[in-house]
Symmetry: C2
Subunit: 280 residues, 2 copies
DNA sequence: GGTCCATATCGAACAGTGTTCCGTATCGAA
DNA sequence: TTCGATACGGAACACTGTTCGATATGGACC
């Protein structure tokens, strides 16, 4: 989800030194009709486990399945190697043989979830609306798995699903006529913008001891904050006091639409002035 | 740093139930010439520790000082209660008397660092440039303390410094003529946009075992990623293959300027059309 | 069939974490 | 001097990710 490229640095190191055992060289026969098997990135070839296998061991896929189920049910803090192992009816140490480390597991989970984002085929006539649609879908997945954005922090997703998603998004931006650099940067910045917003939306986990019911509703909480702002000394905080009422409204869908509208509009104009500059 | 208001919920709960002992009722005499002492938010008055004190105990400020120093030096993972206590020449358990919990400590640290962001006085004639300036300064602080954005996740900063910063930023937006709702939302969305970007920049901590020198430079890392993208099957990934070169360039300052330019431009236009709609 | 070895499993232990308990100092006020 | 709130900190608890080493398991080769 996060595409800061200088960051590839650390991740590549992580792979090179074998902390992680990630997408191994197509353990399963690639679906002949489906999308092509991606070549493994050059920094991911450490384990190189031969395809010889036995019985039906707990597959890596099964581990990721169970992990996602556990995360969806109990949240990020509940995902410990021991809890996950118990879920699979095995021991914690066994998991390490398959995923190398918890970090490696999180990488796999991230790519799995990225795979849930569906991108429409590019249509040059409505590229701006399509970009907004991409943003909405990406946010929807982030909300369906509230821990997702937090997992993605510090990870550079180069898994098969991430690559496919990038390709399709890029196609839409290029169909819109964005020059190459603008398309790439637009994509990267769109992602970080979405993440900034959804991180805010989903960043708040329930505190450890919270029973359901003793927490104020989002409505009440916003009301409290608003009331506090209104109580500030107006001489020193005129704007906060005056605008306190605006802090009670919490329609996140509308806020997101506003943000993405601003972004896409600004991007289109930046692109237009960029092409105009090179054309002259 | 993160202002999702529904999130006040959890934080307020945290305070109400006393997990945290935060900014206590102006323990130190407020600087008479300086900014006024803020009234404590209603959900922060739990401990209500009387001002009677003895000797010169390790003050809460001193703890935050040491914590920030430790974080700046060794990074987020190095901040453990035991390590911090040792830094202060005391025991870990003692810290809990002052800050309630590690979470409470992080709240205090967050507000401390927010205090480093300086906001210029509002000038109606150049509000767009001023918003960009605010963004740049906020990012600068985030880069100076690379752990900052990660700390801010899930926290709703309502400390004195955060309030002051909001007031001044809001002043700039209102000076620009933004209608009330637009000013508030513009501020909130600006923050999440900045955070999304800087989280990307700073989200990658060095992996535990990394000695300096065995990690490829950002340049090399980007090169690796670009080379990988170029090696993909062009039939299925035409855009990634064609644009692979664009992924090598990593001038984060320029990327940030582009993002903020897009945002401010889009915001100005959204505001203009909003006022036009209400005026008609 | 017997041997071999990579594949796979997992109990036990290690070092580390945040946090709580409880006993004990220390001092200001009565 | 007494008393009690303030402040401190050693020890323990439950938990974490991870490693080690012993032990199965089963396919390939002789």
């Amino acid at each position: 989800m996060f595409y800061h490229w200088a960051a590839v640095l650390v991740n590549s190191v992580r792979y090179w030194y074998g902390v992680l055992v990630s997408t191994e060289t197509q353990d399963h026969a690639p679906d002949p009709a489906g999308p092509p098997a991606l070549p493994p990135p050059p920094w991911q070839r450490l384990p190189e486990r031969s395809s010889r296998r036995r019985r039906d061991p707990i597959s890596r896929d099964a581990i990721v399945d169970a992990a996602v189920a556990l995360l969806d049910r109990d949240g990020l803090d509940a995902l410990s190697m021991r809890a996950l192992a118990e879920q699979l009816g095995t021991g914690a140490a066994s998991l390490y043989w398959h995923v190398g480390s918890k970090d490696g597991l999180l990488d796999l989970i991230l790519d799995r979830l990225i795979g849930e984002v569906q991108i429409p085929d590019a249509d040059p006539d409505r590229w701006q609306e399509q970009v907004r649609e991409v943003a909405r879908r990406q946010r929807a997945v982030c909300l369906r798995h509230p821990y997702l954005v937090r997992i993605s922090i510090g990870r550079v997703p180069m898994g098969p699903n991430a690559i496919r998603l990038s390709e399709r998004t890029l196609a839409i931006l290029r169909a819109g006529g964005l020059p190459p650099k603008m398309a790439v940067q637009g994509h990267l910045l769109l992602i970080s913008t979405i993440n900034g917003f959804t991180l805010d939306e989903t960043g708040v986990g329930d505190p450890p001891g919270a029973r359901p019911g003793d927490a104020p509703s989002p409505q009440e909480a916003a009301e409290m904050a608003s009331a506090y702002l209104r109580s500030l000394p107006p001489a020193h905080f005129p704007n906060l006091v005056e605008l306190a009422a605006e802090y009670t409204l919490v329609d996140d869908d509308a806020r997101f639409d506003l943000l993405i509208g601003i972004f896409v509009d600004g991007l289109a104009r930046a692109a237009a002035s960029a092409t105009a500059a090179t054309a002259s």
